[in-house]
């Protein structure tokens, strides 16, 4: 219990530090942090599936796409969502993501493991195909430009203001997801991850639990999409393409699956390397590759697994010491 509250304190402290430090850096870093935070919501939604339910989804970009395209289409075709109605768009984005997940979930939840991976991949590619080919609605390959950000008392075209809005959305999402995974429902998901058969025998409707988790993840994906659309100012099939889903999955694994906050760390690291380091050195891709390889080889539990590993090493060293101390006495 004590260590849990310490962890929460650490996370709150780190977030507060981000909220204070980032707006005082230069505008490019603010932009990057905004992007990383908006994407981190998607990564956490992947983590709900991967880390807590044991369902590796390779189609999570689809929900980001739904939120993003919805925002862009409403804003450019109907001038909707550029004032206070921005918050309505946020709600629509969440509902849109959830609705799509409700449909896809019916198909995907039947399977698990690699089969689940394949089905979500295929469904994600369907959304990509739509975005790419439905020219009249999505602008096809060219995508849709959002020419302005919402204004409602707050002027979101100011990067700092927008950063705070994204930060707030992110913090609320984190809180909600944290509450979710600690709720009895979240515990049942962990149970399914560990041993589904046992949960079934205990009388849980595991299909329904997985289905609901899938829909919740989709909803957060939709939210992430709404924010993403305004962050980048452009929505294109590139946002829905397979690599975006893979990115989200990799970030979750990099930070540590089943920790929520690990995904956030992963998101910041990857964005930092890909978009900041790439402005400094041309060989940033090697760094990214090495980080991935080292993580998989030495930290299968992700970066969040580091404290645990240190503790284990200390404990085993302690045991060895104890054994040494005991040994002379015995002889």
């Amino acid at each position: 219990m004590h260590s849990e509250s310490l962890k929460i304190l650490l996370v709150v402290g780190a977030l507060a530090a981000i909220a204070v430090v980032v707006p005082n850096t230069n505008s490019f870093l603010i932009l990057l942090a905004t992007r990383a935070l908006a994407f981190a919501i998607l990564v956490m939604s992947v983590d709900i599936l991967l880390g807590y339910t044991g369902l590796p989804s390779l189609g999570q970009a689809a929900y980001l796409g739904v939120g993003a395209y919805m925002t862009a289409i409403l804003a450019t075709k109907y001038q909707f969502g550029l004032g206070y109605d921005f918050w309505l768009v946020v709600v629509f984005g969440i509902l849109g993501g959830a609705a799509l997940a409700a449909v896809f979930g019916l198909l995907a939840i039947r399977a698990s493991g690699v089969y689940f991976l394949m089905i979500t991949l295929a469904l994600g590619q369907c959304v990509w195909g739509l975005a790419y080919r439905w020219n009249s609605l999505t602008g096809g390959d060219n995508g849709i430009n959002l020419r302005e950000r919402p204004k409602f008392g707050l002027d979101l075209s100011n990067e700092v203001t927008f950063f705070y809005v994204v930060f707030a959305c992110f913090a609320v999402s984190l809180l909600l997801m944290y509450t979710l995974v600690r709720s009895p429902f979240g515990r049942s998901l962990a149970g399914i991850r560990e041993r589904e058969l046992r949960m079934k025998i205990l009388g849980y409707n595991t299909w329904l639990h997985k289905y609901i988790a899938f829909i919740i993840a989709g909803a957060f994906g939709g939210l992430s999409g709404v924010l993403w659309a305004h962050t980048a100012g452009i929505v294109s099939p590139e946002n829905v393409v397979l690599t975006t889903s893979v990115d989200a999955l990799l970030m979750a694994v990099l930070g540590g699956a089943g920790t929520l906050i690990g995904g956030v760390i992963g998101s910041f690291i990857v964005f930092g390397l890909r978009e900041y380091l790439s402005t400094i050195v041309p060989w940033w891709q090697y760094v990214l590759g090495i980080v991935y390889i080292l993580t998989i080889l030495y930290l299968p539990t992700g970066l969040m697994g580091i404290p645990e590993r240190i503790r284990q090493r200390r404990a085993s060293a302690q045991r060895r010491n104890d054994a040494k101390k005991l040994a002379p006495a015995a002889s």
Binding site: N26, S27, F28, L31, L32, R35, Y132, R133, N135, G140, D141, N142, G143, N145, R147, S157, A232, G233, I234, S236, E238, N239, E275, S278, T279, P282, Q285
Partner: protein
Amino acid sequence: MKDTLLRRLGPALLGGCFAFSFTVGAKSEELRIGYLAPTTGIFAQVGKDMVDGFRMYLEERKNKLGGADIKFIVEDEQGKPDTAVTKAKKLILQDKVHMIVGGLLASTGYALAPVSTSEKVLYVNPIAAADDLTQRDFAKYPFHVRTGWTSSQPSHPFGQWACEQGYKRIVAVGADYAFGYEVVGGFQRAFEACGGQIVQKIWPPLGTKDFGPYIPTIRADADAIFSLMVGPMSLQFPKQLSGAGNKKPVIGGGTSYDEFVLPAMGDEVLGHVSALQYSAALDTPKNAAFVKAYRTKYGKVPSYYSESNYTTAQMIEAVMAQNKGKFPGAETFIKQLVALKVDAVRGPVSFDDMRNPVHNIYVKKVEKKQMFGYNKPELWNTVIKTYPNVGQFGQFKKDEFLKTPVYNRDFPPCKFCK
């Protein structure tokens, strides 16, 4: 005594004056150019051609354009529109660049133009060819100027050329995305305006490697095949077409046979005809010098990606020279840029009133021959006809043209398909 002092100090003072004035003269303005190209990912090679073209001009001018010292900052846009936006903002906010140059894909062009509007920073666009940037969306992007081409620009005269060859019925095979629609659409409009018929349109997805499902469906009663391919598709399509025993003449959009893909092609493309604003085989002293210098430096024949960027640097120099090396502000710069008449590698270039180049369109035939004193027979895009000073609307009236929608999968409609 006084005399000697003066005599002694005089030259020193004089020298001091010179030295002083010299340092004033040498202290020139810095012009910061933010350059965006994909330097990693699948488009990295094209990105290299772009950067090389621009850099070669800079190096020829000892890193000075029109008296200004150039700070040339290249950023990797990774071929993704939203990364391009982030990097553009980095260049504008952090490096405080005077202008953004570059962007490869049409979608990247569409992503960067609004950034230039909102940040009020000049966007000089040498490659991204999306039609509407300088057509229907022209008014939205007052800081955008194109120094390259619109996708459909070479297609308009080329459609007419196809009529002159006596072709009546043509099948179009084009990569299934916006750029493909625009190149094929322009060709169809022009070809049908002079009495031809597009009898079939086939859209293989971007990146198709196996044309097996598409080639047999090409109608047997067509006179010719018009292809619009990009990247690896350009290599595969002619190969598989000739493998399937095709006897029809093949013509195509510029990227089907540009110098970026040509060296990797085989004899199956001999005699194929395409149209573009540049050919490395253009027989002018200026181009000969350019091709030789580029090839010595980078070990390959320049493509239109290289030429367009080389010329863009030349245009920037001309404007900076008018202002004696001082950046005049984005609005004045753009006005002076579009008033230029440049004698470029590709030929004379001027601008229309929508900030798009007016230049020659070359109809080119792939031939195997020796050029510019190279001793090995190679494939070259020999120019067989020049359409001088072609604007983006070609032979059509601007007002009527702009009333029709931008070329897409269904426009112009395929009236003669069945």
